[in-house]
């Protein structure tokens, strides 16, 4: 059997699995994927490979007793075995008072993230795309290290109440670091798409080459508070701590940034500048995502922060029931609205500031204020009187994205970016922030 099943094939397989169930309720999740990659460094290929993977996972429940088992063999005997195993495990498990039964059938909106261009990539096509990149960096005597990875796959689910969901998608991520031979300059680029035809490795490489050459001979500035322009790649890794932290239960329990004293939360409260709006939307044409969550909940366009106000926190089905509200699933993507300024215009309007193109090793320092630490990397530049004056040495920062979004000056035009921390793709604008806190200098290039 093929690893990537069509909707009809997936449905037939899931129906067969459910036909073996003797539990009160049963839910089955199915996955198939093929991944391929090409990795290179020092201007030549290093380790590269391909992997096929598949899995079927069965959750059976008797009342509040739940068991999960899975298997990667899809013959009839194996399918029956995995259902029996999940039922045995459910009988052994202690009752989970937080277990909520399976969902009724749902309607899902359509989203398309599957592109034949990506699905049909071969080792030769990968090598060709990378060759275009290597040609440009080698010509300039620069050292290139990069990674091209593609994936095609599908997920599907069905439960004993007749709910069925299916989503097929493709993805390609390309990232590249170009360093000068003397090790004094370094530039980076990362691009993510669902459609391989949109990836132009040569155009991307030019960005990394330009940053690498421009960052040579960096000068040291004193650490302190500066106006910064964050390119979207740099902004992504800071904003993620907000995206990942919007859980209602933690907020209600008093152990999140979104908590308030006395068991209250910041839901409905203005927490950042009124120009800040972010939402999830599975149908976004530039960032399509599955229109359902792993437990079958429909995903629709959801505002999380609207004009600076917390509009939604995510509620699991259990927590929503307990609080008497509608469940809100964790988002499958995230889009931040922007402004109309180009990056050049943002630089031109800056009297004195720093252009940050990438941030690195971001870790939480204080969950209560969302204080983060990390460093600039692969191209940081000093701006004076509307112009990039010279490259500067990297800084460590200690800053909260909440404080940062309250010190907002300008938002630029949003674009799709790849997080260098989580590999998630987002749509985010570049942003100008005043009084961003740099706490020490780093010698790293």
């Amino acid at each position: 059997m093929a690893v990537i099943l069509t909707e009809a094939e997936a449905k037939a397989l899931l129906q067969k699995v459910l036909s073996f169930s003797k539990a009160d309720e049963c839910e089955v999740n199915l996955l198939g994927e093929i991944r391929g990659n090409l990795r290179y460094a020092r201007n030549e290929v290093s380790t590269s490979g391909a992997m096929t993977n598949k899995d079927i996972s069965v959750q059976s429940s008797f009342g509040k007793k739940v068991g999960v088992a899975s298997i990667d063999e899809f013959d009839d005997a194996s399918l029956e075995k995995v259902v029996r195993r999940s039922e045995e495990l459910a009988r052994l498990a202690p009752e989970n008072p937080e277990h909520v039964g399976v969902m009724e059938p749902q309607q899902y909106i359509k989203s398309n993230g599957y592109f034949e261009s990506t699905a049909s990539i071969t080792p030769d096509k990968r090598a060709e795309a990378v060759a275009k990149s290597l040609e440009l960096s080698s010509k300039q005597g620069l050292a290139a290290a990069g990674f091209l990875e593609d994936r095609k796959g599908f997920t599907a689910m069905m439960n004993s109440k007749g709910l069925f969901a299916y989503y097929k998608n493709t993805n390609v991520n390309f990232s590249l670091t170009v360093r000068t031979d003397d090790g004094t300059g370094s530039g980076y680029v990362a691009k993510g798409y669902n459609d391989f035809n949109k990836l132009d490795t040569a155009a991307a490489t030019k960005i990394a080459v330009q940053k690498s050459l421009a960052s040579k001979g960096a000068k040291a500035l004193e650490p302190g508070k500066y106006t910064v322009i964050l390119e979207p790649t740099a902004a992504a890794v800071l904003l993620e701590s907000i995206f990942f932290g919007m859980d209602a239960r933690s907020a209600d329990e008093g152990r999140s940034f979104f908590s308030k004293p006395g068991g209250k939360t910041k839901l409905g409260e203005k927490i950042v500048d009124e120009r800040v709006t972010f939402y999830s939307d599975p149908t976004h044409p530039d960032l399509p995502a599955a229109a359902w969550s792993g437990d079958g909940q429909p995903q629709a366009k959801t505002l999380w922060i609207d004009k600076g106000v917390v509009k939604n926190l995510s509620y699991s089905r259990f927590w929503a029931q307990k609080k008497g509200v509608k469940p809100v699933p964790n988002p499958n993507n995230m889009i931040m609205e922007g402004g109309t300024a180009t990056l050049d215009e943002m630089i031109k309007s800056t009297k004195r500031g720093i252009l940050v193109t990438k941030l690195w090793y971001i870790r939480p320092v204080d969950p209560q204020t969302l204080l983060l630490t990390g460093l600039t990397r692969d191209g940081t530049f000093y701006i004076e009187d509307g112009k990039i004056k010279y490259p500067i040495k990297n800084f460590r920062f200690n800053e909260s994205p909440i404080i940062m979004l309250n010190n907002l000056e300008t938002l630029g035009i949003p674009e799709r970016v790849v997080s260098t921390e989580s590999d998630q793709n987002y749509i985010l604008p570049p942003m100008k922030i005043r009084e961003f806190t740099f706490s020490s200098l780093s010698d790293a290039v």
Binding site: N37, Y40, R42, E44, V45, S46, T47, S48, G49, A50, M51, N53, V68, A69, S70, I71, D72, E73, R85, L89, A93, P94, N96, E98, T122, P123, A127, A131, A143, A145, G146, F147, E149, S175, G183, S241, F244, G254, R255, P261, G262, N332, W360, Y361, R363, P364, D366, P367, Q368, T373, G374, L375, N394, R396, N398, S422, S440, L441, D443, A444
Partner: protein, 540 residues
């Protein structure tokens, strides 16, 4: 790099990416595939690769079992058993590496197919090679095996015993004033079979365990909250790690643990300490002498010594993600690069019993060993594998190659990197007695370091102010910043071997696609003079 475990819907406990397929508990006790069958499957791949033109081939047949028991307060949130089985084949063809992996490969056709695909990838990519891969010679060991010396297989311990332990721990936390508690038992068994065209057929059985918790206490008046994580270490042991034994306890301002972990005792301390933390004095920023407990220092060693001395990073192979290194070849060649003070002796090893890195052979069939990295402060060596070790003039690999799954390609991963205990008898209390203005840090916390491993910032779990040789009470909002060379040169004393303990991580992240690796770091308590401490409190 230690992974942060962030993600949509991340758990309250840090660092637990869950990978693999879930299975029932009895499936974890099935013996897996018979060795004779594994040899046949491997031979099919070795032969197929050779007939397609490979000049070197290795085959890894892996069965990876994991069990998580996840609880909060009085509830078991989840019991997850995962099993992941497949075959990965790595070849050199036309001088270039190629790799392919197939899930559920149980026939000779499956493994031969993976081998053929690996050769096809190598040939497609050979045009992007400048120099053919140069592999250090390695003798074949024939049919051999290695088993972790565990006393009690975690997968044989009934679920009920594990659930009772964690719910007991949670109950103790709540009874001692905590508002919330999450606790997890995380157990791993890697059953790995390696075969290569050098003539090795190596069967290995590796066990790891990590009991962890996180306790949260909230001040209802201010809405402020504090957490304290477990002072356990992830170890290469069986369930015997959870047997408590007085000789494994290090008593002092708070109890720490060596080869056996008393989870119940630790959580009671944790619950009390979160309350103390809420009332603790906010640190005044400035220079302090730091006294760092092994439960904290392991992560600083990991980031500022383990990573910069990985040869692939030094050479630029990790430039696009994890980064390069300040510890360049010229510094090593000079034979006088001062990595640290004379007190500083750092060594790599893949053999220490109970450590996460311990195996008989690495994932390219090299017998494991111990070697020096920094001797009396001077940089003397790196960590390197078969295709790079010739660059540092060695004739054979140091045996630190690892892949986190059958589906991932093996590459250079950090060995256990540890700070040798001081040779002069010195206890922790004797060390503290000499400190005028200092901070004693226990447990690991926030961590971040630049891509060449110069500038770093670390937090911890517990901070105690030292004034004129005495512990003067608890501090909060502490993080220290330093530069690797400056920091290790400020090391003035290391306690003796009585205090030597291991810390570590299951989730050292490196490579693209990213892989995790489990690694231990040993040390005794050590003192660093005049380190810059910042205050991390902010008002919003």
């Amino acid at each position: 790099m230690q992974l942060s475990g962030m993600g949509f819907g991340a758990m309250m406990l840090p660092n637990i990416p869950i990978v693999g397929n879930s299975v029932s508990p009895e499936a974890l006790l099935e013996g897996g595939i018979d060795v004779a069958l594994k040899k046949r499957l491997a031979d099919a791949a070795l032969n197929a690769a050779k007939s397609k033109g490979a000049t070197y081939t290795d085959v890894r047949i892996g069965r990876y079992l994991r069990q998580f028991v996840i609880t909060r307060e009085d509830k078991v949130q989840n019991i997850v058993n995962t099993e992941s089985y497949g075959v990965g084949v790595r070849v050199i063809a036309n001088g270039c590496w190629g790799f392919a992996a197939v899930v559920d490969a149980k026939t000779e056709e499956d493994t031969a197919r993976a081998a053929e695909e690996a050769v096809a990838i190598a040939k497609a990519n050979a045009r992007l090679m400048k120099q053919p891969v140069q592999l250090a010679p390695q003798k074949g060991y024939g049919e051999v095996s290695w088993k972790a010396p565990i006393e009690r297989n975690s997968f044989e311990v009934p679920i009920k015993e594990k659930v009772d332990l964690l719910l007991g721990v949670n109950d103790a936390a709540l009874k001692n004033g905590a508002n919330y508690v999450n606790s997890v038992l995380f157990m791993v068994n890697e059953q790995k079979y390696f075969a290569s065209s050098d003539g090795s057929y190596i069967d290995q059985d590796i066990h790891r365990i990590w009991p962890i918790f996180s306790v949260t206490t909230i001040d209802p008046k201010t809405g402020k909250f504090e957490t304290r994580q477990a002072l356990s270490a992830p170890v290469g042991m069986g369930y015997e790690y959870l047997q408590t034994n007085p000789k494994d306890k290090v008593t002092g301002i708070t109890t720490r643990y060596n080869k056996g972990y008393d989870m119940l005792e630790d959580v009671i301390s944790a619950a009390k300490q979160t309350k103390e933390k809420l009332a603790a004095k906010s640190v005044e920023a400035g220079k302090y002498d730091l006294v760092l407990d092994p439960s904290h220092l392991w992560l600083t060693i990991h980031e500022s010594v383990g990573h910069p001395l990985e040869l692939d990073r030094v050479l630029g192979y990790e430039a696009n993600f994890a980064g390069t290194s300040f510890a360049t070849l010229d510094k090593w060649q000079s034979k006088n690069f001062n990595y640290g003070s004379k007190e500083v002796n750092l060594f790599a090893d893949k053999t220490q019993v109970g450590s996460l890195g311990a195996v008989g052979w690495d994932d390219e069939g090299v017998k494991t060993k111990q070697w020096d990295l920094v001797k009396e402060g001077t940089l003397v060596n790196y960590q390197a594998i078969r295709d790079q070790v010739h660059i540092i003039g060695e004739k054979e690999s140091q045996g630190c190659c690892y892949a986190d799954s059958w589906g991932s390609v093996q590459f250079q991963r950090m060995a256990n990197v540890s700070l040798a205990a001081g040779k002069t008898p010195l206890s922790v209390s004797e060390m503290i007695k000499d400190v005028k203005k200092g901070i004693y840090i226990i447990g690991d916390g926030s961590f971040s370091i630049d891509q060449q491993r110069y500038n770093f910032q670390f937090g911890g779990q517990l901070y105690y102010e030292i004034k004129d040789g005495q512990i003067a009470g608890m501090l909060k909002d502490v993080a220290y910043q330093s530069n690797t060379q400056e920091f290790w040169n400020s090391c003035v004393k290391v306690c003796d071997e009585r205090d030597y303990r291991l810390g570590g991580s299951f989730f050292d992240g490196k490579g693209q696609p990213q892989q995790v690796s489990a690694v231990s770091h040993g040390s005794s308590t050590a003192r660093f003079n005049g380190v810059n401490v910042i205050n991390t409190a902010r008002k919003i």
